[in-house]
């Protein structure tokens, strides 16, 4: 059968590759740019030749451990996450290097150089060097897919977890990709207890560590994973280019553009760690100067340790951000002494993102800011980070940090005075389940007097609406048990718990104030207020709620409060006439902005 060609996003290509390679357990926690990988497997699950368990796990550590145990039974499995998700999964990930796996196991970690949607631009390849785990760096969506089956085979040959590291520009690129049929592996779950491995106490670890090091040496010389050389014509003697990932693609296009294809030795590194020592040696002997292009940290460069290396360590290649084509052009021109490219105008920022029109988080933040203008606002990772546009977010760190940070703020302030500031933590429902629960228990037992507002929009909104544990729906819209938030909060020892829809700002503000009274009362502690309103990105939510024709009348005094302080993107200023206007293309007719107007100029009417 001739292979079918489809236009696939990198993440879809990877998802399709997992199905074709006979992966039977896939677990992930959503996070940009990785999210669409599991979604693609879910969408294609009917193509799988064998049973396939898919899950949106509660966090990345759990996803990794679920996939790991499935591999112990001999089946192929995968854990998928974004780069900072690997920090959450670091504990099992590090030990797995020593203990190994049985069925092929991949960890797909999507990095975000730039960063575009992350709290840092850490390089998973360097993480793998520290963990001693082989890592693959694909240069295109089609290549990412093509490397999945060989990566499973490598994992099984050496009983080792293998990491595939696509970056944002691979994940979110589309390409014509060839579709194949899934392999049939016909494996039955067969866990064989072996305390020297699966239990491995310190007594067993030196031998396992030795085995790991021996395996890494063999993996580094595996023929299928060697750097690929495109030879030059020797017009640039003793000079080479070494690149990996999307930067390799950028470089290839640039060389073509400049008429330099096949003029200079060019290596593509597929597996940046472990790098073949013979390759390194060869480069030392053959070349005096080597330009090394990789994102984001100098992982290949560190291993090559070439005295003529031009890269991040000597500052010739920018150490931060993406190596976009223009950057590669400048670096290459300087390396080869070419005419430098025209100076680029300073990059201009476009429209900043903001909470959607009608987002209930906006209403909650507006009320919080109104009730506690002098408050401290720790917040967290999700759409609601955008509460910073309303001045209602003071800290964002990593998943779940806001609750512990809120408690930390309290401990520091209460030492000085009984008149501590009101600390209002905001955390989304998915983030609360991910890493908020241990932090909540800790805040309660340490008697922190803080208000925690759980912004419950019934979904993981930022990444496109993955299911959350309290909705009773699992991956692929399958019904499951629902784990409600309220009993969890109560079981954590919280004695003040209220639930309200922040669209009703008057009552919501009454509850915020009573929460503040509670935390300051003699018996006070953690107060939790659940702000509950569905995500308006969900068409069902929009259809179920009232929608009005919202307009601004002649009473408008041009005070800008609705535009700047309430910050709904459906409102903008007509600067010429100094009045606010509703953009009817974007307004969803919720009317939540009405409260922000000091002169009652925003009005709502039934739609005709």
């Amino acid at each position: 059968m001739k292979n079918k060609i489809e236009l696939l996003m990198g993440n879809e290509a990877i998802g399709q590759g997992l199905i074709e390679a006979g992966c039977q357990v896939a677990a992930a926690y959503p996070g940009t740019p990785s999210t669409e990988i599991l979604q693609a497997v879910i969408d294609r699950r009917d193509l799988a030749a064998e049973p396939l368990h898919l899950e949106w796990s509660v966090n990345e550590k759990i996803a990794f451990e679920v996939a790991l145990a499935a591999s112990y039974t001999g089946k192929r499995s995968v854990a998928v996450m974004k780069q900072v998700g690997l920090n959450v999964a670091a504990d099992p990930f590090m030990r797995t290097a020593y203990i190994g796996v049985k069925g092929g196991m991949l960890t797909i970690v999507a990095d975000d150089p730039g960063p575009h949607s992350s709290q840092n631009e850490q390089d998973t390849r360097l993480f793998c060097l520290q963990a001693r785990v082989p890592v693959i760096d694909p240069a295109s969506p089609a290549e990412a897919k093509a490397l999945i089956e060989p990566a499973f085979a490598l994992s099984e040959k050496y009983g080792i977890n293998v990491v595939l590291r696509p970056t944002t520009r691979i994940c979110h690129s589309r390409q014509n990709v060839s579709i194949g049929a899934p392999v049939v592996l016909d494996r039955q779950a067969n866990f064989e207890p072996d305390t020297s491995r699966w239990v491995a106490t310190p007594a067993f670890l030196p031998a396992l560590h030795r085995q790991l090091n021996a395996n890494l040496e063999k993996i580094s010389v595996e023929p299928a994973w060697q750097p690929l050389l495109t030879s030059g014509d020797n017009s640039q003697p003793r000079t080479a280019l070494v690149a990996a990932g999307i930067v390799y693609g950028n470089l290839v296009d640039l060389l073509e553009e400049l008429g330099l294809s096949d003029k200079i030795d060019l290596y593509q590194v597929l597996m940046p760690y472990p790098l073949n020592p013979d390759f390194c040696q060869d480069l030392h002997e053959k070349y005096d100067r080597i330009l090394i292009l990789e994102e984001t940290y100098p992982v290949i460069e560190l291993q090559l340790a070439h005295p003529g290396a031009v890269g991040k360590q000597n500052g010739a290649v920018p150490r931060e951000g993406e190596l976009m084509p223009d950057v590669v052009h400048q670096v290459l021109a300087s390396f080869l002494d070419l005419t430098p490219p025209a100076e680029q105008p300073e990059e201009r920022r476009g429209q900043r993102p903001s909470l959607c029109p009608g987002c209930s988080h906006r209403s909650a933040f507006y009320s919080i800011k109104k009730c506690f203008p002098q408050g401290i606002y720790p917040s967290d990772i999700g759409c609601y980070t955008l509460g910073m546009n309303l001045g209602a977010v003071h800290t964002v760190h990593c998943m779940g940090a806001c609750i512990s940070q809120g408690a930390g703020f309290y401990q520091a302030y209460q030492q000085d005075s009984d008149e501590f500031p009101t600390i209002i933590v905001t955390i989304g429902d998915s983030t609360f389940f991910h890493a908020g629960i241990p932090a909540l228990i800790n805040a309660v037992i340490q008697q922190a007097r803080i208000i925690i507002v759980i912004l419950d929009n019934a979904t993981t909104a930022m990444t496109g609406g993955q299911p959350v544990p309290h909705m009773g729906v699992a991956a692929g819209n399958v019904s499951t048990k629902a784990v409600a938030i309220e009993p969890l909060v109560k079981a954590a020892g919280v004695e003040f718990l209220e639930v309200w829809d922040p669209y009703d700002n008057e009552k919501f503000e009454v509850l915020l104030k009573s929460a503040d009274d509670y935390i300051r009362s003699p018996q006070g502690g953690v107060a939790v207020l659940i702000a509950r309103h569905g995500c308006v990105m969900d068409p069902a939510v929009r259809q179920a709620q009232d929608s009005f024709l919202v307009t601004i009348n002649e009473n408008c005094i041009g005070c800008r409060i609705c535009v700047d302080k309430f910050e709904c993107p459906a409102l903008y200023m007509d600067e010429e006439n100094n009045v606010a206007i509703v953009n009817q293309d974007r307004c969803i007719g919720c009317g939540t902005c009405i409260q922000s107007c000091p002169v009652d100029a925003i009005i709502k009417e039934e739609k005709s």
Binding site: L7, M9, T32, R169, R174, Q175, T385, D585
Partner: protein, 166 residues
């Protein structure tokens, strides 16, 4: 055939769908294509940019001064993405009054059709009409039918045709 295209707008305007339609036409013609898209937080109403490279390329990203065509759904992005277009490049802009470039009030046309989001395909129609994209009307229609959810196919085709005839 080689062509480099950028599609610029803000999250929620249908930049991704338009990108996919263009890339799908290339796939249907059996021409290699690479696109790069903006996902994640910027999609919440922020500036988004897609790049499309049709032909024999290794990376979807576009160097400054290399794009042949820019489809601009959000006029205020012009100063942000202008440097990507080559000197002879063509901008087709959703605008009510931009005299420097090919401008078409796609938002109004889309609104008259009942949904502002349809402006993406109005612009596509305009690009075909002006021969800024070397695709046929049939090829675009096929791709739209392949990619649009069934119940929106007619609406999408209507928007495309409005762009063709304006």
């Amino acid at each position: 055939m080689k062509q480099q295209i950028i599609v610029s707008g803000i999250g929620g305007q249908g930049v991704l769908f338009l990108t996919r339609v263009i890339a799908q036409v290339a796939v249907n013609r059996n021409i290699p294509v690479l696109t790069s898209e903006t996902h994640g937080m910027a999609q919440r109403g922020g500036t988004v940019l897609s790049t499309i490279k049709i032909g024999d390329f290794a990376s979807p990203l576009i160097c400054s001064g290399q794009a042949d065509l820019g489809l601009l759904l959000w006029e205020a992005n012009l100063p942000v993405h202008q440097s990507l277009l080559q000197e002879k490049g063509v901008w087709i802009i959703n605008s009510s009054n931009n005299s420097d470039h090919i401008s078409i009030n796609a938002a109004k046309i889309a609104r008259d059709l009942g949904n502002a989001v349809l402006l993406n395909l109005v612009l596509l129609g305009a690009a075909i009409k002006d021969e800024a994209l070397c695709f046929t009307v049939d090829e675009c229609e096929t791709a739209i039918k392949q990619l649009a959810p069934k119940k929106f196919v007619e609406q999408n085709l209507a928007a495309f045709h409005k762009g063709l005839s304006c």
